[in-house]
Symmetry: C2
Subunit: 341 residues, 2 copies
């Protein structure tokens, strides 16, 4: 930390450049909205920030058995962020595989990173411990992630605790590289480790996750949403019993996306109890879900089915991102003395 920084960066005066990666995932759910989408959308409206929201499709390829998935899911991811109001005005919403400079910079970082460093990465060790036959892509993952960051001179990278080590690695690689070429060329990012508060799933037990099947989708058909809301596990308190919002999955899920009014309303009713059972709470949750997401279902479907329009919307983002990436790439190449001129 606190390494000397390069004399010239690509930063925009008065704005902190924040990089957020999002794995291409189809059919996002309320847990994703709460943990990732809403924070990114909010940051995109913060005038002190310049957000790069990057769909990291290259990262999605490291599982050989699912190599054809990321390409299919990029459009769903982009449609979701656009629908939920990610502002393109001063920010960049981009797709990783559209920025070739990242992988060139990744090569330079790989040449200053010891094999041992990568072998000690938690994510890699976990994969091996779980009996996976790891691919070189998985092994190199921390390098690609560091390249994502430095290619855009990112200043702040908000990540969950599970990614903290990767951020340390990125700082290490910046230092290794700057030392190898003898002066500061890459910009060191500041990690912003976030305690991502877990959102409970519809089973009332585990973290909301598609792999547990306990998720509440964002844009599924109305009927399915209604059914999912009704299925949420609750305790056996009766209609008129006072209920504890803190231990009530219906309330916790509402809190993750609902308006302040809707949250205050349900909290009061649950505590009081009288005439307000879990059935009412589920109905209120469903109504609020319809208001927040259901009302945007058509917009989402439109983006999902209009790849050309989305590509066009994002053209200025990709142009700016490539400009930044090309500038950093040139800085790196100049430092290494590469190229025929």
């Amino acid at each position: 930390m606190n390494q000397p920084q390069p004399a010239h960066t690509t930063h925009t005066a008065g704005r902190t450049r924040v990089l957020t990666g999002a794995k291409p995932t189809a059919d996002l759910h309320v847990g994703n909205y709460f943990g990732a989408i809403r924070p990114a959308v909010e940051a995109s409206h913060d005038t002190n920030k310049e957000v790069i929201l990057m769909c990291v499709d290259w990262h999605g390829l490291t599982d050989k058995a699912k190599m054809l998935e990321p390409g299919k899911q990029t459009s769903g991811l982009l449609a979701t962020y656009l629908t939920m109001g990610f502002s393109l005005e001063k920010n960049m919403c981009i797709v990783q595989s559209e920025i070739p400079q990242i992988l060139e910079i990744a090569w330079y970082l790989s040449c200053v990173s010891a094999v041992g460093l990568l072998e000690r990465a938690h994510a890699f060790k976990d994969a091996v411990a779980n009996g996976k036959e790891p691919t070189a892509g998985l092994f190199n993952y921390p390098i690609l992630m560091a390249a994502d960051i430095v290619t855009f001179d990112a200043q702040v990278v908000p990540v969950g605790k599970d990614q903290a080590q990767h951020l340390e690695y990125a700082s290490d690689m910046v230092r290794y590289f700057n030392n190898a070429v003898g002066h500061p060329v890459l910009f060191e990012p500041k990690p912003q480790i976030q305690e991502t508060p877990l959102l409970i799933g519809t089973d009332g037990e585990r973290k909301m996750s598609k792999s547990y099947g306990n998720h509440l989708p964002l844009f599924a058909p109305k009927k399915e949403i209604e059914k999912r809301c009704k299925e949420i596990k609750t305790d056996s308190k009766g209609l008129d019993d006072p209920k504890d919002p803190e231990s009530c999955a219906v309330f916790q899920i509402l809190k993750s996306f609902g308006s302040e009014d809707s949250v205050v309303y349900m909290e009061e009713r649950l505590r009081k109890g009288t005439g307000y059972g879990y059935g009412h709470a589920k109905k209120d949750l469903f109504d609020e879900h319809e208001r927040v997401f259901g009302s945007k279902r058509e917009q989402y479907e439109h983006y999902l089915n209009s790849p050309r329009e989305v590509a066009q919307l994002l053209t200025p983002c990709h142009e700016r991102a490539r400009h930044v990436a090309a500038t950093v790439r040139q800085r790196v190449r100049d430092a290494l003395g590469l190229g025929i001129l």
Copy 2:
């Protein structure tokens, strides 16, 4: 071997595409000329071949302590090949780091290659056995080399025995990738393993190599070449003794670059012996060296000091190479379904 091949390749009808990599090295010597430069120059004049001669500067970065070397030595390598007559007419003389698609394709290959495969690579195992702290770049070397090959749909890759395993790996990776996407997308190269006949050094003992200091440079000043020729170790046979050309370093070095006439002449004189001592042979070697290389010294210096001219000469090569690389990249991206349109 004999995998199904992609329906569309970038090949030129009637020509076999041959890929040759050359590490950027300054001050090339007669051993390099014999083992690499002459074969590539000759192939470039073969109308049945389309040669891609690639200065592999990215490969040169895998030794962290010497990261600033490749950039400095590219111009010397290019100047040497151009001076010695590498024909640009139907071939491509290019610099690896000018073709960004290679590293993108390398990422895709890394995602289908097991870590274990790379751990078993001889070159990597040797480095570890020699107590080197290997970089991830060295570890990933076989992937980059495979990417060099497939990015250009190379059909034939002539390599020394020490590179045979890397060629097998390239074939393996092609198969893994084609299997992962379900149809042939990458073209499988044919290795051409060459017994590179060793050239003896001026010490008359070991292989000619700059690291042994027993090399005869191509374009050093005339005085230095003369001195080097005089220093060549010979046995103690007298002026009039019959001498054995096979065990004579002077003759062996001459054979590696001299005209047929000059070789026949020296061979006869040595066998006969009478009035032809090693001093005469060394003088003849020097004269032939001056004729073959010395006469081109000015041309070499000119190229070396005219980076703009060289870059311009190679512009059509890089344009064609990028066109091929972009076509293959698109084939790969289409197979993976990547991109926002």
